[in-house]
Every structure is written in structure tokens, then in C-alpha cells.
Amino acid sequence: MAFVNMKTKEVQAKIVYYGPGRGGKTTNLEYIYSKFRDRIKSDMVSIKTHGDRTLFFDFLPFDIGKIMGYDVKVQLYTVPGQVKYDATRRLVLKGVDGMVFVGDSQVEQRKKNILSLKNLQENLASYKKSIFKVPLVLQYNKRDLEKEGVPLLPVETLEKDLNSQLKVPSFSASAVTGENVVPTMKKIISLTMTSLQNVMK
């Protein structure tokens, strides 16, 4: 639920990175944080376990400038990807305006991607939101592993598994090297802002 402050002329919108555990959601935010450090005033908040796994969420507020005379502040969140954290994951989705689904390109993660996307659909439905209507971008992460000889799913297979019904924009990416991390973010911000503008008009 985007909040528009008429007095300060500020809009706050919430974008959540979703996907299977160890898929690279936090790494996406870490890359964005390092890349735009000069524009991000606060520290990135990460609530994680001792073993460096996301426990609740990462949080990164990001000023993207003026749209229609309003200062737009995008709040980027991740969810915990591990299956056992479903109750916590659902809480983070509250009031979401846009989503990035970070899939893991490794062949052995194929099933986990599909289950996580299904879980997203169910959790959105618990807030009466449809996965077909929420602004959504898919990211096929870890493409850099191809060079290491790790078996990866062809992009066509990922598209067929995850995007054959959704038909949303998708990116092949590597959160570790930063490849297509910023384009993914720009795309979801632009989709989210377009839907915001449609409602604001």
C-alpha cells in the first residue's frame, strides 16, 4: 500500500524481493547499496542468523527523485527464503506494491523455484492480491556459474517453468557480479510507478 503524504509531497512504496533460499535476494540489495551508497542516507538493515541467512528481512530505503511533483521513496525489502520461515515471510509482504522474484538458475534448484513462486501466489492471496496483478519482475540469478562449469537451467526452461502464465519482464542476472541487478530494480520501480500513476491520476 503506497502512502502519499500530501503535506510533505512524498510517496513511499514497498518493493519486496522474493524467492527460494540462497537464491541471491540479499545479494541483490547489497549490490544496490554499494552502487548507490551516496544516494542512500541510512544503513541497510539486515535481520539475519549467525549463519548469515535472512531471518526476517533486509531493508533498504531509496530516494528515486520526483515523479509528478512528489518525492518518491522506494523501500526495498527481502523475505527469508527458507521454507520453514513461511509465517515470517508472509508478514513482510504486507502492503507490498511491487515484487521481484529471484530464481536460482542452478539445475538442482529447479523445483525450489517453482515451489517458491507458488508460495508467493498463496501468500499474496492471503492479502487478497493476485500474482497476476501485482507489478512483478523475474530475475534468473547466478548466470555467472556457467563459467564455473555448474549445470544451469537454460533461460528458455526457466521462462517455461516460471513465466509461461505470468508473462512479465525477466532478466538473466548475477547478483554477485552485479550483472543486471540495477536493470532489474529499475524495471520493477518503473512498473510500480506506472501503476501508482494510473491510480493517482
Binding site: 502512502f3 500530501m6 513511499q12 508478514l91 487478497k128 493476485s130 497476476f132 491510480v199
Partner: protein
């Protein structure tokens, strides 16, 4: 998909005009900051900051605090439901020199108050209750 789904982007269920926001900020300033509170935030359940006010000497990261506070409230609320409770009593975290008090304004909003040792918990609760009533009367 059925028609019970919301549209792609939903705005908050409430709308607040400039005049209403000014009245709310006035309440935060007069009732709470003047009583010695360091900083006060009105946030919604998704973690957005609706209104804020402080004594001028606070440099806490309020956007992060709002995100954490709404998450804290939601987690506690879910735990209450798991053990069969409607909701738990109000949240309050006491530190050595700074404490945080949470108060549910209505289904949409939380009032987060950060205060030090100069203010007793008793006085704070009284002032928060008054402020919550006044904020609710803004609608």
C-alpha cells in the same frame, strides 16, 4: 482471478489531507514532544511513516525504525493468534537510557514513542492515551 482481488497497486485505505496531517503533527508536538519525549512517529502497518516529530536532538534512522516497528508489531500479533489470543497487551521496550513505547491507534496505525529517563512510564502512558484519542478524532 475473481473480483475479490485488489487492483495492481492499492493505496492505503485511509486518505489524509494536508490539514489532517497538520492537526496530527500538532498533537505529536504539543502532547508528546512538549512532555519530554525525544521522538514520536505515527506509522502504518506496512511500515510507512505518516507523521513524525522530535525534539531536534534525535538522529535515529527513523525509516529503518518504522520498518522494524511494524514488523515487530506484526510478529507479536501473529504470535498472539498462534496461542489463541485476540491480541497482546501493549508493547514496550526498556533500555538503559532510551526506551520505545508502542500504541495501536486503530487498525491502520501505530504510534511509536521514543523517550528517556526524564519521563516516567506512567506519565508517558497518560500522554500517549490522550494523543491517541486526539489522533482518532482527526477522522
Amino acid at each position: 482471478m475473481g473480483s475479490n482481488y485488489d487492483d495492481n497497486v492499492t493505496f492505503t485505505d485511509y486518505t489524509l489531507g494536508q490539514e489532517q496531517l497538520e492537526r496530527i503533527e500538532h498533537v505529536l508536538s504539543e502532547d508528546l514532544v512538549r512532555s519530554g519525549v525525544h521522538s514520536v512517529l505515527l506509522i502504518d502497518m506496512a511500515g510507512n511513516i505518516i507523521a513524525k516529530c522530535d525534539n531536534g536532538n534525535c538522529d535515529h534512522d527513523l525509516y529503518s525504525l518504522a520498518a522494524l516497528a511494524s514488523a515487530n508489531f506484526a510478529a507479536v500479533d501473529t504470535m498472539a493468534k498462534i496461542v489463541g489470543e485476540e491480541e497482546f497487551s501493549l508493547l514496550f521496550h526498556k533500555g538503559q537510557s532510551e526506551s520505545i513505547h508502542f500504541s495501536k491507534v486503530n487498525n491502520e496505525f501505530l504510534l511509536i514513542t521514543i523517550f528517556g529517563k526524564e519521563v516516567s512510564l506512567g506519565l508517558l502512558r497518560l500522554k500517549v492515551t490522550e494523543a491517541v484519542e486526539k489522533i482518532n478524532s482527526v477522522w
